[in-house]
Symmetry: C2
């Protein structure tokens, strides 16, 4: 039986959204145990005692890591926090994967310092899956912010792990891998990116060269490898622009008189289509690649739906023994 | 009389869009001479000989720099190209500013190697003005790609020049300056950004701290200073996401049946509003800050409208003696 350790306290809609997602996913994941870590009273308010069975266990904890907490300090001082105790369960072999919607930095720290790096991996990288314009396949970005300073060899390892994920979990044969850079030519970028380009070119990966920021969402590549600093900037710029545009469109639709409002009702299907296309929920959460177990994060504002998909994603990562195979791959190098 | 040297050959719509913009702007800029550099025959096809007067001069050139040309090599070998001859006019005092829609790298090279750096400026930076969500003021980003490798002191100088531009040209009193980083706290980012944060904090600027990628378009700051590599990624990610979303919306509106199509007609005003709000044309082009004259670039796909606004922007930069004052500021340091 697979066992997923779940930080029930992190995120704006915790623990309700998390518990709702688990109750929804349980029938589809009969061979999985969901271990909830958190405030017993708060969990009990949402989860009736009679629903606790051999697929659902609650481990009471007394502390919580907030978004404002300094990550490394928090995991050292809040030893009985839901996130840290959940991570320890994974470390001690009492659970197989860790899920949280809480403080991203603290979760990365739990992954790296408690669960631990895979031998042979220099630096773990954070990897979401995002939608693209002309297919429902999406693409993986790595690293989007686990590292502020990046060396070329990290980028190669991130690309290798992400390509492996794209193949095993997303079913993409011989996934295309690109390097996010400030131009198309092979000599573009600073010395880190020039060197990373060479490493990728000399690797076994299906490396298609550099891509630029404006090509990220076009579906040109299955994996975009990038330094962790500008990866973070790219991801947030994309999210920010989408949010600003959609809010502005909504404002314009509501503040341009009756005809426009009526028109807004009539284009509902198109908006639904658009929402569906750029629905990030169905790809699951961002995976910290390169640690000894799946450590997966969804946005702190997530409601039930993305959590549901993330739990299924974790189930697949465990079924496919992704981490075991990554360990094997990198120990042979 | 102000004299603007204009590369008439760069860009997809050259020379027609350029000539149309000049003819439109001439009545509003009576004290300006527009010197067109390029293929005499092609220019003459659009510009009747009788329109050539003391405000409009054509300097025939025999070569052209293409988008595919390697920038530094191109400006060294294509000595009679429209862009290089125009830059030489500025260098030799026969013109006061340079405008082009051509190869960005080559234009930067013309600015840095032909027109030359301002004494005291370590590295020129490329600075566009972009729209923001809740005002019509926009904001300046610097550097968006003139530099692949950035040192903290470059970021400080870019911020100082951009703040000066925001004040003198955009009329913003005591402009807010932020540092693009991977988190809000002062210790975020790599060593370059940590050090840049300190330099900005110790400066006379109205420094408001770090901003993240998702805050760029929100109007939180008047100037966003950034390293040239991730600035390039941020700018292109923003442009790319906007383009992908708007195309997808258009597709959805056209492919969801008659009611949706009718609705699309009815929301025209809202779409017009949105287009107006995120209209980058009216802010003019991207300025290479830190060279001895205004060197300004608009997108290679630009039509008449952004060029018209860019010529007015250049007029204002010359009227305000922006470059002269920057020279004075930095020579005193």
């Amino acid at each position: 039986m697979k066992r997923i350790a779940i930080d029930a306290m992190g995120g704006e809609n915790a623990p309700k959204a998390i518990i709702d997602a688990i109750i929804k996913v349980i029938p589809e994941m009969p061979d999985t145990k969901f271990i909830l870590f958190g405030d017993k009273e708060k969990i009990r308010q949402t989860l009736p005692a009679d629903q606790i069975n051999d697929q659902l266990e609650v481990v009471p904890t007394s502390q919580m890591i907030n978004d404002e907490d300094e990550p490394v300090k928090a995991i050292r001082t809040k030893k009985d926090s839901s996130m840290v105790v959940a991570a320890r369960y994974v470390k001690e072999g009492k659970a197989d994967a860790l899920f949280s919607m809480g403080n991203t930095g603290a979760l990365l720290a739990c992954g790296i310092f408690i669960i631990g790096r895979i031998k042979g991996i220099a630096r773990p990288g954070l990897m979401p899956t995002l939608p693209v314009q002309n297919s429902d396949k999406g693409y993986n970005l790595i690293d989007v912010g686990a590292n502020a300073q990046t060396k070329p060899e990290y980028i190669l390892q991130w690309a290798e792990m992400a390509a492996f994920y794209a193949e095993k979990i997303r079913g993409i044969v011989h996934p295309r891998v690109a390097l996010l850079n400030n131009g198309a030519e092979s000599d573009k970028g600073d010395s880190v990116h020039q060197e990373a380009y060479k490493l990728l070119q000399d690797s076994d990966l299906n490396f298609i060269g550099n891509i630029e920021g404006n090509e990220l969402m076009t579906g040109k590549t299955d994996v975009a490898a990038m330094d962790g600093f500008s990866g973070n900037i790219a991801l947030k710029s994309i999210e920010g622009m989408a949010s600003v545009l959609l809010h502005s469109l909504k404002d314009s639709l509501l503040n341009n008189g009756l005809v426009t409002k009526l028109g807004a009702l009539m284009i509902k299907n198109a908006v639904y289509d658009l929402k569906n296309k750029y629905d990030t929920a169905r790809y699951g959460g961002a995976v910290l690649m390169g640690v000894n177990a799946p450590v997966v994060k969804t946005h702190g504002r997530s409601n039930e739906r993305p959590i549901y998909y993330t739990l299924k994603q974790i189930g697949k990562i465990l079924d496919e023994n992704l981490i075991g195979e990554i360990k094997e791959k990198f120990s042979q190098k």
